[in-house]
Symmetry: C2
Subunit: 477 residues, 2 copies
């Protein structure tokens, strides 16, 4: 990270923590240069970056001030619906697929503004550079590799993943590593490895709908544990659930949770690991957004606090580099052998050319530079969307302000039915993700998830405006 | 097909049916030219082809004669073990994975002569040409396709598969078609769609071990139906099993069965379709070797006789074009929607670049020419291996002589334990596939499957010699 980026981060932390309040002036270039002993040019670069990220804005005669949307008038959601479930710890049969598929099918039209999509815009990825890596790696691939790489995975890809794991403070060994068809296959294999039909699984509420579908497919029961929008799963309720119910596995997203954007602190991750160690609970960690952090460092995964090899760490390149390539991985802890065998019985392996292309790109293709740019773009788009929401949505809504990823979670006024809103928005060519698809008990009826992973333009700005009108129409009806 | 190929096929049919006996002279070039009204050059080209395929050989002063190995001293297997099971129709819990994995793990060493492998040599495939198709298709791919192609599959690939289906007499619609991660994922999805844990599934005996593993994984019971080494599954026993047991699905390979090489006649396929219609039995057809036929035409799939959309037709490019790309498909009949939903919940899709590359190759890359060459190579290698077996194995063995694919199935003398032989052969750097891995009840203990999908050379010739010695050592011990 360059000096100006480091300095920008310092200021940004002051803003986020409230040390610098909205509307307040930030240090002038001259005074900052003196105080922090850096050149004026560096300060200027940093402020320019903060401006692009939407954290500060230039005001005539005042210099730069903190923008009002940051910690501004829009409140963050609380525990929302899930909060009430404190009193009713229970296991639910999962039956969300019909609803999820009806939502996903209706947003397939490519002309729809994809605020309901689970993917960021493919325009954000270095697809042409990747395809050069593909060409090169196929040319250099020894003939036998096209068959041999199936069972063991591409050796260079395994090496590159291990290198990045070490660099980001993750802790797993090459023995544990299995290359999969995206993270979704990894998650499926893990859950199937450690459960039998009818078993109970502790899962976050809300949770990514695909994880609920996996539970449904494997005929597992969901024990829904509330997630705080800022710092993740409620450990007290999880602990109590583990006391009361014969839970066989746990599924968490410790960083940039989908849909809430919540991230657990290191301290909380440590505590969660102690809890799962106490119950010897196989735990599946879905960490696909980890690289999309807006702060100084990549947050550590739960896996790095796990002393007992109970955590199966799942991730992929689908959200950070290569959507559609279907290359992910799992570091399966003590369950690795079983997970791998299950894969050999179902899909054998991820596509060999896709593995080779990604391996070459990781080795030669400036992945870190791409990621820096991607993070900056996403942070900027988050800011733009928050601004538009502030402008067009009723002031009584609550919205998350996650420190990574590309989703906002919005609590609408209680009279808004998000499934109804979903249908109305579709008629206007806009997709959203309605709250109930994120819950086994179909809670979150007045919540929606919006995707800010698309390049900001007037079409998207306008779609927020239209959504605002539709939301207001509920209040007046 | 060229004129000389057609003529070669005519002569080859005469040989196969026994109209021309081993050792017998075939028509001289001059007389054939006159009789069949073709040029002498064409006759010569045809005879040269037949010689390369090992069907005829030139003898001094006699011209060409039929080689003795064809319909020669080595007998074909009968119903073998499975024959006895006529009297005991029953459902078996499947527990083969440990054995299968111990076999597969031990043959991973790349220096091993891979007679036990399930794949043909990658050297037989147009990998460089495919990689040019990859480069081109990635360059031309619209950015949005890398995400959009996931749920629906590459449109051009779907088109190309449909075109080939029509050309080969298969009957399915684009609506039924789902692109999968190889045929194995297709087979898994199909079986899971139409069964629940504990259900009974009619499966061939012997059967490809991966299909047994799928049954095991899904906790299904196998009702093993004997397969005749020449014409496939025993319909009488299948019919009787359907009367007696609540069978929920059936799994067949109607063409070039793995491991037997058996192919059902059209008449038999018709009868099987009548049977499954009578019982409304969901039927999974694994047709991955269909393109590797040695005769004049690609054999028709079971699916083409199915009036009721009960057949789920599974195939892939892994055995005919692109091993390691992990691109297959299923035409799922009336079960298509459910199959596709299941895929969206597990792997989402096959790798988008791999799909695009294969689509481009199918459209521009002379797939048919590649296949003609591949078939000729495989037929020639089959001949070479049969010759070597005739020379080095005891005369009491029985061996199949399939009309396609790349496997021989050999019944050894009853005192030979194929698992023991497998271990002994490995110590000599040779892998074989022992019979019991192809059976839920671990029958076929004195049988082995050999792969002739590798370019014939002295190393492979020698490995057959070594196997022969090992087999003889059982007889003398």
């Amino acid at each position: 990270m360059k000096l100006y980026e480091q300095f920008a981060e310092q200021i940004s932390t002051l803003i986020r923590t409230g040390a610098l309040q909205p509307g307040e002036k930030i240090p002038s270039v001259r005074s900052a240069s003196r105080t922090y002993e850096i050149s004026a040019a560096t300060v200027f670069q940093a402020y320019y970056l903060l401006e692009r990220r939407g954290l500060i804005e230039a005001r005539a005669r005042s210099g730069y001030v903190v923008r009002s949307h940051v910690n501004g008038i829009l409140a963050e959601p609380e525990f929302s619906d899930a909060h009430h479930s404190k009193l009713k710890i229970s296991a639910t049969d999962v039956d969300v697929s019909e609803l999820v598929f009806s939502v996903l099918n209706s947003i397939k039209d490519p002309t729809t503004i994809p605020l309901g999509s689970a993917f960021p815009s493919p325009a954000l990825f270095p697809l042409q550079r990747l395809s050069r890596s593909m060409t090169k790696s196929l040319r250099e691939m020894p003939t036998h590799a096209v068959v041999a790489d199936m069972t063991s995975g591409n050796a260079n890809l395994r090496r590159q993943i291990m290198l990045r794991a070490v660099a980001s403070g993750n802790k797993y060994t090459a023995d544990e590593l299995i290359i999969t068809n995206g993270a979704l296959e990894a998650l499926n294999l893990c859950l199937q490895t450690v459960t039998n039909p009818g078993d109970m699984v502790a899962i976050e509420s809300p949770a990514f709908y695909a994880s609920l579908q996996v539970l449904e497919r494997l005929k597992l029961k969901a024990v829904e544990i509330p997630v705080h929008p800022r710092d993740g799963i409620d450990l007290d309720i999880l602990a109590e659930s583990l006391t009361r119910l014969p839970i066989k596995a746990c599924w968490v997203m410790s960083n940039f949770h989908n849909p809430l954007g919540a991230s657990m602190s290191d301290d909380k991750k440590q505590k969660l690991c102690e809890l799962i160690a106490q119950y010897q609970l196989p735990t599946i960690e879905d960490d696909v957004y980890a690289e999309l952090y807006f702060g100084l460092h990549q947050p550590k995964p739960l896996k790095s606090f796990d002393q007992q090899n109970l955590v199966m760490y799942c991730s992929s390149f689908s959200k950070s580099l290569a959507p559609g390539y279907r290359v992910g991985w799992v570091a399966g802890g003590k369950f690795s052998d079983k997970i791998h065998r299950l894969q050999l019985m179902t899909t054998i392996s991820s596509s060999v050319p896709a593995q080779a292309a990604i391996a070459d790109y990781l080795q030669h293709g400036s992945f870190d530079r791409h990621l820096r740019k991607l993070r900056e773009t996403l942070e900027n788009q988050q800011h733009k969307m928050l601004q538009a929401i502030e402008r067009y949505f009723p002031q009584s809504i609550r919205v998350t302000q996650p420190k990574g990823g590309y989703f906002l979670w919005i609590e609408l006024p209680p009279e808004v039915d998000s499934l109804q809103l979903f249908k109305l928005a579709l008629t206007q060519g806009i997709s959203i993700a309605p709250g109930p698809i994120f819950s086994a008990s179909q809670n979150f009826r007045h919540c929606i998830r919006l995707n800010y992973g698309n390049l900001w333009d007037t079409k998207i700005e306008n779609s927020i405006k239209v959504l605002g009108k539709l939301i207001n129409s509920f209040q007046h009806s």
